[in-house]
Symmetry: C2
Subunit: 347 residues, 2 copies
């Protein structure tokens, strides 16, 4: 792992491997506030979440939720700032490279089952708003720091209230005992230690929503009318070779991962000359569904020399990666294909 700070830990490119899932202990960690006390995962079934904006609002414990349904979904979890270090403007914030992303398997209750059990969504609601269970420091306007995010209400069709990840109870670091998982959406929308899920008429007024996590043009102040960081955009990156060490001349299997915000990946191309010429890679391994990443591989015959490996993905919706990410004040949503290049010396 690359440790940027106690709250921001990144997966090393060379640690991704090729078996699709990212182990919990290798998954990036990013918190907007210090996490709650670890005692909240001592009695997981007792954790409660208020469900509002339904006909019959209720506070439900995890034990209650477990009587309402079970589903399992693989998703890419990616921090909105993943790739921030590649932007020429050098935005402030954690200088993530490729490793603030992983593919994990969640298990929990579909949120739509919960809403149905409580009489359905109340009329007029347009957003799904999740609130984190972090303690708000005294003497601070809660709206200025609280983790509360709103996504379009249509996201509820895939959303889970998840208590498990990769076959184990969800750890505190990854949002246990209960996390709102919104498949296809950027990490920040997957609210950890979720204590309130509300169907709302308007977006949250919290700063993290109103002006935070917006695509703001360089030189501007973030404002509520800037595009909000919601669905993931199409992206790919090479995972091996990682560039950490030289590679033996001969056949080299170049592998990587590709994903989009819920649209299946249709094609991935790889270049070993920094994008002058491209070859189509093959997919391999199990397909965990449209919210997961797909693995790609291509065997390249490489003589001694220096190479620049890049990849670009094309999804079923016709989206592809630009050569360079769209630079923005906070350094969000980087998906340029050229900047995460791997420079490899073949000897």
């Amino acid at each position: 792992m690359i440790v940027h700070s106690a709250q921001t830990i990144e997966t090393r490119r060379s640690a991704f491997g090729t078996s699709v899932v990212t182990p919990a202990e290798q998954l990036y960690v990013r918190n907007n506030l210090p996490p709650p006390d670890a005692s909240i995962v001592a009695n997981r079934d007792a954790w409660s979440v208020a469900v509002e904006g339904v006909r019959n609002p209720r506070v439900l414990t995890v034990a209650d939720l477990k009587t309402m349904g079970v589903e399992t979904v693989a998703t890419v979890l990616q921090c909105s700032g993943n790739g921030r270090s590649y932007f020429p403007s050098k935005p402030s914030g954690t200088p993530w490279t490729v490793g603030a992303a992983g593919c994990v398997i969640w298990s929990g209750v579909p949120l739509r089952y919960v809403a149905e059990a409580l009489g359905g969504v109340a009329p007029g609601m347009r957003y799904l708003t999740g609130t984190g269970g972090e303690k708000i420091p005294d003497g601070i306007d809660p709206l200025s720091v609280m983790v509360e995010r709103s996504v379009a209400i249509t996201a509820m069709s895939d959303a889970l209230l998840a208590w498990e990840m990769n076959g184990a109870p969800l750890s505190l670091a990854h949002g246990g005992p209960l996390r709102l998982v919104v498949p296809g959406y950027n990490g920040v929308n997957n609210v950890k230690y979720v204590k309130r899920v509300a169907f709302t008429e308007a977006e949250s007024q919290a700063k993290i929503m109103s002006t935070g996590y917006r695509m703001t043009a360089l030189g501007q102040q973030s404002k509520v009318t800037d595009p909000s960081i919601q669905e993931l955009n199409v992206k790919s990156f090479v995972t091996a070779p990682s560039g950490d060490k030289s590679v033996r001349a001969g056949t080299v299997y170049v592998t990587g991962v590709a994903f989009s915000g819920g649209s299946p990946i249709r094609r991935v191309e790889v270049s070993s000359d920094g994008g002058k010429t491209w070859l189509e890679a093959a997919f391999f391994g199990p397909d965990l569904g449209r919210f997961a990443w797909r693995q790609f591989a291509i065997p390249l015959r490489m003589a001694a020399g220096n190479y620049v490996l890049v990849s670009r993905a094309f999804d079923a919706a016709g989206q592809t990666q630009p050569e360079r990410g769209i630079d923005n004040v906070s350094g969000y949503s980087h998906n340029g294909w050229s900047e995460p290049a791997v420079k490899v010396a073949v000897v």
Copy 2:
């Protein structure tokens, strides 16, 4: 985990969860000999395996293998003795219940690519034989203890030489740096620390193959003509509720896993009265392919009382589970549906 001995560690039923994969640290461990020294995973790429019974036999390192291809396959890994404790004859050996099984994701090179690179399989070969890298104690006939197993050569079409499991380099406990993975076959055929892979005319003469791991009728001595423990048979078990504690009256989601030796699972039925009446369960979660297990769930309305939960699976080849496992001298291949019952008190 349930620790039977230092070499035999079982997953607790309540630890399986519902997110398909079994984390490496929760996967059962079973060794036939003490593992090699941990130094063998210090320099993984240097580990070598002799490939024989091909036109151009060669010793290949893991680094060599990585230039020959990459594939990723999810499989059920299950010890042949899983469920041994349920046999009425109380066979000697580890008294496994349901937890000597897991579903994991392997990554490595398809064995068929390796054989092709070495000129193809030599004529007349009928078996794929793998030999483990354990140290043979001095003064003992190697054949009496060595881990060497043969499977039908047709198994090579799915076999991998795997260096990774669940997104991380393969640990020593699970056979790293290199394991022969034979999807759809019982655990013992997935040779750990594999040092030799040979296409052979005959089965191995090692005791573990010649008379070991055979389905021997009660009261008989194991002999080479007894059926060998090869492909997994069709099986399922309930994972939750686990019976460890009482359950609240109301709706209870009964979940479990079902698998077969490469034939997709078509249907799973669940009974809460010990098999008198059955209901069809629904599959959920991603389908990781025909060698993985599928998860099933069914919501049952349960009033206060005592229940006996059992499940039975049906595969695409028309196989299903018997009510009771076929008792045998060594307690292998248990797949009776009645014995792994979960007794639950609903209060």
